[in-house]
Amino acid sequence: MRAWFFSENAYHLLPDSKEYDSIRVKLPNRYYDPKIGADLYHRFIDEWQIAEDLGLEIMVNEHHQTATNLNPSAAVVMGALARDTRKARLLILGNPIANRREPVRVAEEMAMVDVYSRGRLECGFVRGVPYEMSAGNHRPTRMMDRFWEAHDLIVKAWTSHDGPFNWEGKYFHHRQVNIWPRPYQEPHPPIWITALSPSSAREVGARGYIAACFLTGFEGTKVVFGSYRERRAELKLPDPALDRFAYAALVYVGETDEEGYAGARKLMWYLESNKVPPQFTSPPGYHPIASAVNAMKGTNPGIFKMFQKPELGALMQNGLVFAGNPDSVYKQIMRMYDHVGGFGHLLIMGQAGFLDHDETVKGMQMFVREVYPRLKALA
């Protein structure tokens, strides 16, 4: 198993949450101090470099109009990391391509990072979280059609080397596509896609890309990975290797369980601070009709409630947080691993909120020294 260190680059120095009704979309940026923000950017880049030094891979994501994540452009921060690192694989998970107006620009940026890093880019595509419909002014309906058209255009841009091609699709129009640079890796960087539902898992499985689950817990993850495998079998394609599956959780390893739990409680800031009103969590069309109906009836599955009132015990019980001493964490990861039929990538959300630099580094060190060797042996 490969482990990836991931941080949301949050800006955590916010007023009391009673003072605002949403941390996303509309929180005024007067609460952001660019001088503190500059220190935070440098700190987080330092932490990614330390992750590389320790032997971890690097993961970056992007979000928009939110204090929970100050990377509105994953390509920009990965551009810096491509220069400041030498050996780690560089995963962007991901580019929200259903929301981007210009897929060709994404193809260019990703090719550039791939070349810049001498072929270390792992390129993720995501649909984008519901809060970003307003932030990006993007229509929440029929998003996956737009997503796959953007994907098709990007892959074609990466793999066409004989001059311009024409694209007049339903959503995107480019009559002369001919990107410079082209990607370093042949035919293109590995593609990852976040899959949170069986239907998207089937699409990802059919294409053989890496499917990543974020905080989907035991049952959600099992369904997604299972749908991926089923779809492959239906299409009579080879069984997927473990490296086609990734799981993301909040992870903190301490010397003792207590130290691990204390770190995890600080990571939970990410869930606790996610104060967002319903008009931004559920823009019409983003979620399937059935889940909109369940929301009106108040019968959505418990995992939704867990995000509303996060508690460490319940989060650990459900496999959203792996925390404790090294043995405990190893056992928790293996419980998930065995339950979902195995996975080849652990995406470690290892920094959030008030977890300071030393604590963040210690959590990484403990993981690498005490847990990672046992996980590596799985592959």
């Binding site: 979309v25 419909m133 993007h138 229509r139 029929r142 008009q279 019409p284 009709i289 109906v293 009106m296």
Partner: protein, 266 residues
């Protein structure tokens, strides 16, 4: 007499299946619903059917009408309903549209109103009035649901819906109506930047009806912009109603529409 007032039927036009309500006899009336969708049990439908033959479709994606992959704009809907009039060979039709439905009706009328006898636009959306930094229409997708109701209804408490009392089918219709509204109205937001410049093509008798207490798009601002863009349009308000007068003041609403129709007959 024991008719089921919530019963709907179906029609097809060029392969598009539409759930419809058909009620009444006489002069044809096409009712184009707004964001709230088509409630077959709404009192105004029966009242309207006393004055003519009402045809009221659920737009694709609304109610039980299936989504249609190739239909995703109000422009598409306007052609669809021109096709419906042709398919049924209806003439002298009074086309009545509310809010989003008013936008559809206006888009139809600028294209071709040969089959119309008159047009009633009930607090229609669809045009850009102010400058680029003026939010002409409140952003329903970024406001708390209670605030949207407060803007759209004079008395939101009277129309409040208890979701726990509804069937799964009724809740599904609510969810589909919201989703279809986002499909047609997300961007440009509830308008076609080009529509206003072509409204002068509406040369048939036109009534603009506005709830006197419409806080969503006011008569003084948005209504006035429509009036000045459609030559000769008459402007009337319905007292005691917000953005959806057919829901809040159905009798007064139908009285205005039937009055307008009887002038055409005369």
């Amino acid at each position: 007499m024991a008719t089921n007032v919530t019963q709907t039927g179906w029609m097809s036009v060029h392969g598009v299946r539409l759930e419809i309500v058909e009620r009444g006899q006489g002069q044809p009336i096409l009712w184009l619903h707004g964001e709230e969708g088509l409630d077959p049990g709404a009192p105004f439908l029966d009242m309207l059917a006393a004055h003519g033959s009402v045809l009221a479709p659920s737009h694709p994606g609304f109610g039980h009408s299936p989504d249609v992959a190739s239909i995703d704009t109000v422009d598409d809907l306007s052609y669809l309903y021109l096709d419906v009039l042709a398919e049924r060979n209806l003439r002298n039709v009074t086309v009545v549209g509310s809010s989003l439905g008013g936008w559809i009706a206006a888009e139809m009328a600028v294209k071709c109103h040969d089959r119309f006898s008159g047009l009633v636009l009930v607090a229609p959306l669809g045009i850009k009035v102010g400058d680029r930094e003026t939010r002409d229409i409140p952003d329903i997708f970024a406001l708390p649901p209670d605030e949207v109701a407060r803007l759209q209804y004079r008395d939101p408490a009277r129309v409040a819906v208890d979701h726990s009392a509804l069937s799964d089918d009724q809740l599904t219709v609510i969810a589909r109506n919201r989703e279809a509204t986002a499909l047609y109205a997300w961007e440009p937001y509830f308008h076609n930047p080009k529509l206003r410049q072509w409204l002068h093509r509406i040369t048939l008798p036109t009534l603009l009806l506005w709830g006197a207490d419409d806080r969503f798009v006011t008569a003084a601002y948005y209504g006035d912009a429509f009036r000045s863009a459609i030559p000769g349009a008459r402007f009337e308000t319905v007292a005691g109603a917000g953005h959806f007068p057919h829901i809040e003041e159905p009798a007064a609403f139908v009285e205005r529409v039937s009055g307008f129709m009887s002038e055409r007959r005369g």
